[in-house]
Point group: C2
Chain length 336, copies 2
């Protein structure tokens, strides 16, 4: 039993198990950035696959291992898959946190399945009405955390208020942002703008203890106006996928023009531009509001992204982000 | 009386009246792309401002002029401003179309005021439940038309179906796209994804006569999957503003990296990249579904963008886009 442990879903993600095993080894590299103790990781998945994979990588440096006989594929319907595969690596990761064999779980697998299993299996933190998915973008050294990115696509105003509170608690505890600024993603700056949902949320956020700066338009995300952007899960999810697609499209255009002008440009410079909208720089998406630390990586995660996600889980645990969320929400309830 | 005339709101936009007057002159330049007959334009605004402005530009080449004593500013509340300023240039443009002194209006002014005045003043085309704002992006020569971009932020499913029909009629008539492909902006490809609104809209679009390819995720917009993207007006508006802000941010990063690497890159190459997401290349946003052609340009429009918007209005009129919309909607009602 070690509630400081991190359960890693070895079977989850497009490049699993190679990327997940490489990521675990990388996180524990004594010459790397993270230098985690191997004992802190609990590898969850097919024990033969894990054993063979570790053997190919020079042996098990000290990881704990838990067998899970089933794998939920990326394209499966989450609800059906969770019912049909009780011994999946995702379900076993959640089980490890539930039974306090770990304090956090990291999965690059089926997002819907991780959210569903975690929400049902771990339950909500005290005072939390609905968990939300938070993603942090590193916009030229000015991190912006957006939530909800799709856990709750038809929220109520009070859910959005809680996302503001949880997001602020997260960036303060884990990113060290003092007195974080919170904004609400909307179609205009005036408080009277938007749907009934957004008007009510603006009203309630104004009355909440968070430092609420009001409504934001889409373009404001990039202008260092706020540290936390609150969105309904539908809009948040559309926006996140749009940013990924648009960045790829624009950079393709830039490369084409550079080539047409016979301009030499290094891969390294391109990578630095991409880094700004690649949330795997910070690890993965955090499911905030459940009773445990849950990090959901991008399905396309490579070893570096897996290691970053493990590092993010460790930081969230060590910073006691969930304790901070519960405390902040208790203050919110009192003042509301 | 000339219903082929285009009423131009000379007072609207951040750079008015200089940009609007320059744009009108440019549209009629006998050596330019558009070569419109000056008689086709009806300049609407303060007649002294217009007269002085034209004098500075070598005299009136033959524009008709209609006086309007008031101006609605960009930041004013649309509903209040329309009530308080019955003699505004926006209201007079709408009046000109209503009285068949013009068949189209072009304004770079307060979007809400133009939408409000047009919707109330012109009424809807036969069969149209709610007008929608359509914007066309030129994605490397593959134009994509998105609607609604904010006329209707809390639509019903049947409104979204009509946006699909109107968008398809528009791109077929005005952009020459044969058998246009239509998609629905959502959070996943499966028909079961999204809010109740999106599920019902998916269902009804599938049964409609448009060539509906199903749900799209945000990133799909850039992948030449469809010609028309249907969105609810809230999401559409957030997305449009996000694209503008994000493009500026990413290109700033690119320029910074190029500079750091002492790479010379021409302004011209950058302009070609920007052109792909600059909808003023196609003119402005079209308010589809009202009884008249209404083009709303970006507030930041320069003379070129104003001229493009005038050209777009002329093309929409000449292509009889509204007749096409009425015809298509009648087919939709029959088959529904």
């Amino acid at each position: 039993m070690d509630s400081k442990r991190i359960a890693l879903d070895v079977m989850g993600g497009d490049a699993a198990p190679a990327a997940t095993l490489d990521g675990a080894v990388r996180a524990c590299d004594p010459t790397g950035d993270l230098r985690m103790a191997p004992e802190r990781l609990l590898l969850v998945g097919d024990e033969r696959v894990i054993a063979e994979g570790l053997e190919q990588r020079g042996g098990n440096p000290g990881f704990a291992i838990q067998h899970a006989a089933q794998v939920i594929e990326m394209g499966e319907s989450p609800a059906q898959a969770l019912r049909a595969k009780p011994d999946s690596s995702i379900a076993r990761c959640v089980g490890a946190v539930k039974q306090s064999a770990a304090g956090a779980l990291v999965s690059m697998g089926n997002t819907g399945a991780v959210v569903g299993a975690s929400t049902l299996g771990l339950g909500s933190l005290e005072g939390v009405r609905r968990p939300g998915i938070a993603v942090t973008l590193d916009l030229t050294g000015h991190p912006v955390t957006l939530l909800d990115m799709g856990a709750n696509i038809a929220p109520k105003p009070q859910h959005l208020v809680q996302y503001g509170v949880m997001g602020a608690a997260y960036v303060e505890a884990c990113l060290g942002t003092a007195d974080p600024r919170v904004g609400l993603l909307n179609i205009g700056e005036e408080a009277s703008k938007g749907t009934d949902l957004l008007k009510a949320a603006n009203d309630q956020l104004t009355a909440s203890p968070v430092r609420f700066l009001g409504n934001l338009e889409g373009g404001d995300i990039f202008e260092n106006k706020v540290d936390v952007v609150v969105a309904d899960g539908f809009t948040g999810n559309v926006v996140l996928k749009l940013l990924e697609g648009f960045a790829g499209f624009l950079l393709m255009l830039v490369l084409r023009e550079l080539k047409a002008h016979k301009v030499q440009w290094s891969e390294e410079a391109l990578a630095r531009v991409k880094k700004n909208i690649d949330y795997s720089e910070y690890g993965g998406a955090l499911l905030l509001g459940v009773d445990g630390i849950v990090v959901i990586g991008h399905g396309r995660s490579d070893a570096r992204a897996v290691a970053n996600a493990l590092g993010q889980a460790a930081r969230a645990m060590d910073a006691e982000v969930n304790e901070a969320i519960v405390k902040r929400l208790a203050e919110t309830t009192t003042r509301a």
